[in-house]
């Protein structure tokens, strides 16, 4: 018998069985997440299976955010927000308000996902939590509504596709470039039903805010989870964020003889900044292939790249400059904490002075309904995770995906610009390095 992958360790521990890839298990869930879009359907399921009596199996680990239509962009959305508030109040769930931020970010900031946790969310980017050593995965509202009642859910134990990057990343190449490259290499469905596991010296040396980018976009190759084996850096991040102490469970380690579906290995020094062309994340190319593409709107934000460190990179590049003529920039911080950090460090001024629009924390135009949707023929360069047809507005608009550095450099010229042509910084985790939260 071969050893176990991280995913097999997780699902063995949480199901109390000897779980092997391909098997089906019922596992105990630690944290459950929904929001203003998938919430109402989840509440209906929960109330159906409990005949309206409740209770929530784990109210203090049942988290509901208002982030997708936040602030409300219509009466129906506003009514859904009220539904969230009423449900949380009635059953004692943890609830975040409009402007608190994107579900995945507030869960990370408040310690709802930690090494060894099994986290399910009625949002596909729940893979994000793999960056702090939690098994995070996206589910539907029926899955989540039943788990609200039982804190259990069925899982197929996934095979694992491993991505290793060795060496030191060159200037201008960030974790976003790595994940776009991985998705481009294996394809949009290349990791379906599998876990993406990320390792190698370049990833081990990454700060947490960069690791979560890799995990976040695992779903863009069909991944069930995106895991980075947690280490001391994750514990420091969580402790700085929450003021509480965390540990890594003994069982949370892949066996040396674990079996992988495939291993993709890269030399960090050979990688270039990547851009995914419309209209699929798998259309990743080196930035040099799309340099000069005219841009109408730049978008900085989302659960992928809306953290302080991401926004800071853009601010550094455009500081003292104005946006190129004819270009607009929408900045949406991932959380209220990020918003405050922008105020405290003065980079809010940088954006306003440059002519950018800074909005309240939430999903922004990535959800395609408000705060800067695209019109016919508009071309956007975004730090987002998806560029499907119509994702950010018109079916006749186009979205290119890139790192914050590429967005920042492109803001100066109004066209896609290689970030290696401007001066760049690389940041550790702001919260660990003393930017208050």
């Amino acid at each position: 018998m071969t050893g176990k992958t991280l995913s097999e360790k997780f699902l063995s521990e949480k199901s109390g069985t000897d779980a092997q890839a391909g098997e089906y298990v019922e596992a105990e869930v630690d944290t459950m997440l929904t929001h203003d879009v998938t919430g109402p359907l989840t509440f209906d399921v929960f109330e159906d299976v409990t005949a309206g009596d409740g209770p929530l199996a784990k109210p203090d680990r049942t988290v509901i955010t208002i982030d997708h239509h936040a602030p409300a962009d219509g009466v129906k959305a506003a009514n859904n927000h009220n539904h969230v508030r009423e449900f949380a109040d009635e059953y004692g769930a943890v609830q975040y308000e409009v402007g608190d931020g994107i579900c995945h970010q507030v869960l990370l900031e408040d310690g709802f996902a930690a090494p060894g946790d099994l986290v399910i969310g009625a949002d596909s980017h729940s893979t994000t939590f793999g960056g702090v050593g939690a098994f995070g995965t996206g589910v539907g509202s029926t899955d989540l509504g039943t788990a609200f009642a039982t804190s259990e859910l069925w899982f197929r134990v996934p095979e694992t596709l491993r991505f290793e990057v060795h060496g030191e990343l060159p200037d201008g190449v960030y974790s976003k470039d790595l994940i776009l490259k991985f998705i481009g290499d294996v394809g949009f469905d290349g990791c379906t039903y599998m876990t993406a596991e990320y390792g190698g010296s370049a990833i081990e040396s990454m700060p947490v805010h960069e690791r979560v980018v890799l995990s976040n976009m695992a779903i863009e190759m069909g991944g069930k989870a995106g895991l980075v084996e947690p280490d001391e850096r994750v514990l420091e991040f969580l402790e700085a964020q929450t003021g509480k102490a965390y540990t890594i469970p003994d069982w949370l380690e892949a066996d040396d003889d674990a079996e992988y579906a495939d291993v993709h290995t890269y030399r960090a020094e050979e990688l270039e900044p990547q851009v995914s062309k419309p209209s699929n994340p798998e259309n990743a190319v080196p930035v040099s292939e799309v340099v000069g593409t005219d841009i109408d709107q730049l978008f900085v934000g989302t659960c992928t790249n809306g953290r302080y460190e991401d926004i800071r990179i853009v601010a550094d590049i455009i500081e003292g400059e104005e946006l190129a003529p004819g270009v607009r920039m929408v900045v949406v911080p991932a959380s209220r904490t990020v918003y405050k950090q922008m105020l405290e460090t003065g980079i809010m001024d940088t954006f306003v002075d440059a002519g950018a629009i800074v909005q309240s924390a939430g999903c922004g135009p990535c959800f395609g309904t408000h705060q800067g949707v695209l019109g016919d023929g508009d071309v956007s360069l975004a730090t987002a995770n998806r560029n499907f047809p119509g994702r950010e507005g018109s079916m006749d608009s186009s979205v290119y995906l890139s790192s914050p550095a590429t967005v920042g450099a492109s803001a100066l010229y109004g066209e896609i610009t290689d970030p290696r042509t401007v001066e760049l910084e690389r940041y550790g985790d702001a919260v660990v390095e003393g930017v208050s939260s």
Binding site: V37, S126, T146, F388, P389
Partner: protein, 168 residues
């Protein structure tokens, strides 16, 4: 739900149809199947919501239902009255959601043989898709035992109700 063994018209879509295409974000303010169904494939194929009839089928290529986890996507198809989805392969969350909702989903490697407008039906017991327009039959993959049990229990909601009541 009608009877998927009765022939209905196939509406054929390509590869990598993501859930934003199945039900665009701006319509997710509702959880009502019929209302969602009025906007299924709203932008990708505007004639679908008005043209689809009870008992029709949706046919996809590879990776059908990718992207967002929104259960509104299979729920919107339930709302249109389609009797099932046949595809060469499905994205993981869409597949779970459809099973949980009781919408028949068949993984059929030969789904590419079905042309838009063909009359098809499903034999769920035999696990086949019958194309009446050209008199062909295609094998679909059978569900893993665990999932078949879940379907036989009447879906995840009734399974959970029995679990809560201590019957399971």
């Amino acid at each position: 739900m009608n009877d998927p063994a009765q022939p209905g018209t196939a509406w054929v879509f390509g590869d990598d149809i993501d859930t934003d295409q199945i039900i665009p974000s701006r319509f997710l303010v509702s959880s009502d199947p019929a209302e969602l169904g009025e906007h299924a494939f709203n932008d990708l194929r505007p004639e679908f919501p008005s043209g689809v009839e009870d008992g029709d089928f949706v046919v996809g290529g590879h990776n059908f239902g990718s992207g967002s986890s929104r259960e509104h996507a299979p729920l919107s198809l339930v709302g249109t009255g389609v009797d099932g989805v046949v595809a060469q392969s499905f994205a993981r969350i869409f597949f779970r959601n459809a099973i949980n909702l009781g919408l028949p989903v068949l993984i059929c490697p030969e789904a590419g043989q079905i042309a838009d407008g063909d009359e098809i039906s499903l034999d769920l017991d035999a696990g086949t898709v019958i194309n009446h327009s050209i008199n062909e039959s295609y094998d679909a993959e059978s569900l893993p035992e665990f999932l078949q049990t879940l379907v036989d229990e009447g879906g995840l909601k009734s399974y959970t109700k029995r679990k809560i009541s201590g019957e399971l």
